[in-house]
Amino acid sequence: MNSVIQLWDRINHDQHELHQGFTAMQIAERYNLSRSVVSRYLNQLVIEGKLLKGDGRPVVFFSAIMGSEVAGSDSKSTELITDTAHPITDEFNLIGAKGSLKKAVKQAKAAVLYPPHGLHTLIHGETGVGKSHFAREMYQFAIHSGRIKKDAPFVLLNCADYADNPQLLMSEIFGVKKGAYTGADRDREGLLQKANQGFLFLDEIHRLPPQGQEMLFTFMDYGHFRPLGGNTDITGVEVQIIAATTENPESVLLDTFKRRIPMMIELPSLAQRTLEERKQMIMMFLKQESLRINKPITMSRNAFISLLLYECRSNIGQMRTDIQQACAKAFLHYVSNDEAHIKVRSVDLSSAAKAGYNHYKNQRAIVDALLPSTEETLYSDEVSLTQVLDQSTPEDFYTSIAEKYHVLKSQGLDEEAVRQIVGSDIEKQFETYLRSMKQRVIEHSITKVVGEDFLTLTEKLMTDASQRLGCSYPPALRSAFTLHMASAIERIQNRQPIYNPRLNQIRIEHTQAFLVAMDLAREMEIALGIVLPIDEIGYITMFLANTDELNKEVRRSTLPVIVMMHGKSTATSMAEVVNELIGDPIAVPFDMPLSMPVEAMYQSISNYFLTHEIKEALMMVDMGSLSNFGEMLYEDHGFHVRTLVQTSTPLLLEVVRKAASGHGADEIVASISKQFQTPRSTVRSENSQNKLMIITACFTGEGTAERMKRIIEKRIAKPEQIVVKSVDLADRSAYLATIEHMRSEYQVVAIASTINIPVDDIPVFSALDLLSEEGLSRLEAIVEKAMLLSEISKSIKETVDIPSHELVGASNRFIDAIEARLGKDMQADARIGFLLHMVFYIDNRLKGIAPRVFDGYRDFLLKNGGAYDKLEDLFESIEHQFYITIPTDERALLLKVILSNLE
């Protein structure tokens, strides 16, 4: 403490050198102290009221005692100035004074300090950029710099107030002699005179009639003017005039002003300000509101982001109004819900402000850097509440809301009605502020379906959840959640039951997520005035738990791998070897002696599944009827079983290794097919490939899935050729099993699902995709292509030796792979031509028909060796798949056709 006093003494001693303000670093260097110590002491002195602190960085400190004594020639005042709203500083107390207002501030200082009495100034800028505030700051600066006296007048006149009566306006400014016009019944002093030795701020100067302008310019140039109806000039009045206008810079009027007023200061629009400054403004306005109602105000991160990014037509003025309005609404919640503190949430914002959140995704990096806190509540200022600030809204505004609320309540009105009445009152109060501001709702496709308020709510809930659970949710999942909740609420409102058969399981598997879901549900209940059944909370939990982070924890215990082989002990010995190598008994062997009836084998397998409660498994079989067991288990019990045929020890080893590291059946089958070139893991009937299907899925199979189904059916041109089926994905394994089952009957060309669960290479569309034209046309293209391919395989069915859909499918995948490798697509119709070419090529090879010879292939390969190398293994995979060989010159020939037809 002593040291603090010592430092204070030293600063006082040196005050003549320090009157411009000082930073902690300067003091540290000056007195040879450590900067951090100095910084602590200085802040201590600020708390004691001996020092004042500037807003900028680095923080500049000023002695509260030195004050206006400095630098002034006129001023003799040594009084301590106690106006804490305007700390004694020769800096502008403006957000962005050192940022985007730097130039303006520099000009303003010059205008004020210009000898002998400053320069008259024109401030130009859009509505609401802070022109009046800036003018006041100039005035404060003039006082603090000693150019004018501390008690010098600051007179304000908004010319727009007198737009209907130019006579009156001019008499206001210049004064009037009795009898100058009807109603001028006595001599009156003009504002120019009242502002003598001080400032006259003329807002909306463009409303001043030409005659008045001329008089004003005369005063500026020569220092005299003549009151209306007077016959002598008044001289000796010294006033610094600050005029402000929103006039279009191109206009003639502004041109005149620019020519006649010596200093022109341009203030940037809010959009031209930096986000950092905008952040500070929001904080400042919140602080002002907080002071006004004598209570701390907090704001949710989402609401803060919306305010930071929304399009604010009328600039800072509008932003302040919007913040005040939001605070008022939050205050209402606070009073009516007995909440612990006032919290501004997204729902409290105007729809224009809320739309700001839509820009978050484009500016995420910069916003996150600005608002590093992952905490939901961002602003929480426990300021001392003694200061009185700016009075632009009635002080009793909030009180009146609270009173009105209680009065209406006591009249026996119900909560909802009271809220509506009081709520509409708030709107009315702000009408005046808002009249010039057109609210523009930014169109966002999802809001077309669910409405903006609802989207804001669900977005917020997802954000809360992600913070509490420490995981992230991709936008597609967020939209899915929104759509799901919209459907759920529709159901509740229609009194349709919601039933979640997996409820208890969910509670056990995802305890954490379930607890969070309970809270989210409660918040939704409050916001929407509904009651969510516990079953629905189960669904919400499922959404929340649907992230990799959380799924890993509850990853199904190692996937069972069932090995079934013909022979007395083939399966057992193979499983033994593999289990020993892996060090874990994952492979479960079932031997099938040739004497054993198939039914008996199936019985023991299905018993094993039931007793061990297995719902998902991978089955490794050698051949024959065993390969149908998976399908049978689905039919009988709904189990999800993938089957791999032609099992060998290396294959089993790879499968078990993957199962041991936590992979699911589908993942394993997908990766195995790639590695081992297994043609098909499941035998699909030829018939199945000619019937096309699109699957839509959501948790219930009824809400979003049904909606998506309708959207697709409406879009697809030939609905008779394609079946759209909605299924539920409440149980992941059951869902996968259902799809697998469908695939034995249909060719599933696409899945539209609220959750992205990959199934082999079937393209998955999100609900959001289906709401965009881009997504729908992508889906349409996929369907059309599938239809064409299906037509093709139908038409050549009779002429080829092996099932045509296999040939077509393999050729199609072959071309897909080539296109992916080369990063270029083939021209659409040439692609079909080449596909047929491949089909017949393979068929001819299978038929043993000798291929043609490509004599020039060496030259061709010399030129195109690079492409050939890239694609070599794809040719090999076709060879493996159909047990044919494709000689080099033929590969070259195929390659030539491919390369000639790239886009």
Binding site: Q827, A828, K896
Partner: protein
């Protein structure tokens, strides 16, 4: 006699289309000689009424400019008709171009 010649990269896919076109012609009682050749053999062409290219060799079309200039139609077969091996429809296209 109308002579229709089809060209594809190796004469493989077109051979089946040719067969279907022949069937269609027979059914219609339309007298025509329909053949398919591979791209490499398509250099020595003479004495034909119309040349039809498989979609995958559409890039050859410019090579047959002189043929076209001499009044012989050179066309690329419609993708869907080609893909579905619709001999009847391709024959109809040929006839339309030959104004038969």
């Amino acid at each position: 006699m109308v002579k229709i010649l089809l060209v594809c990269s190796a004469g493989m896919s077109t051979s089946m289309l040719v067969k279907r076109m022949q069937d269609a012609a027979l059914e219609e009682g339309f007298q025509a000689e329909i053949q398919a050749v591979a791209e490499s053999e398509a250099t020595k062409i003479n004495d034909i009424s119309i040349l039809m290219l498989g979609p995958q060799v559409r890039y050859l079309k410019s090579k047959f400019k002189s043929l076209e200039d001499s009044g012989i139609p050179v066309t690329v077969i419609d993708t869907v008709k080609y893909g579905t091996m619709n001999g009847k429809a391709v024959l109809a296209d040929a006839k339309a171009l030959l104004k038969i």
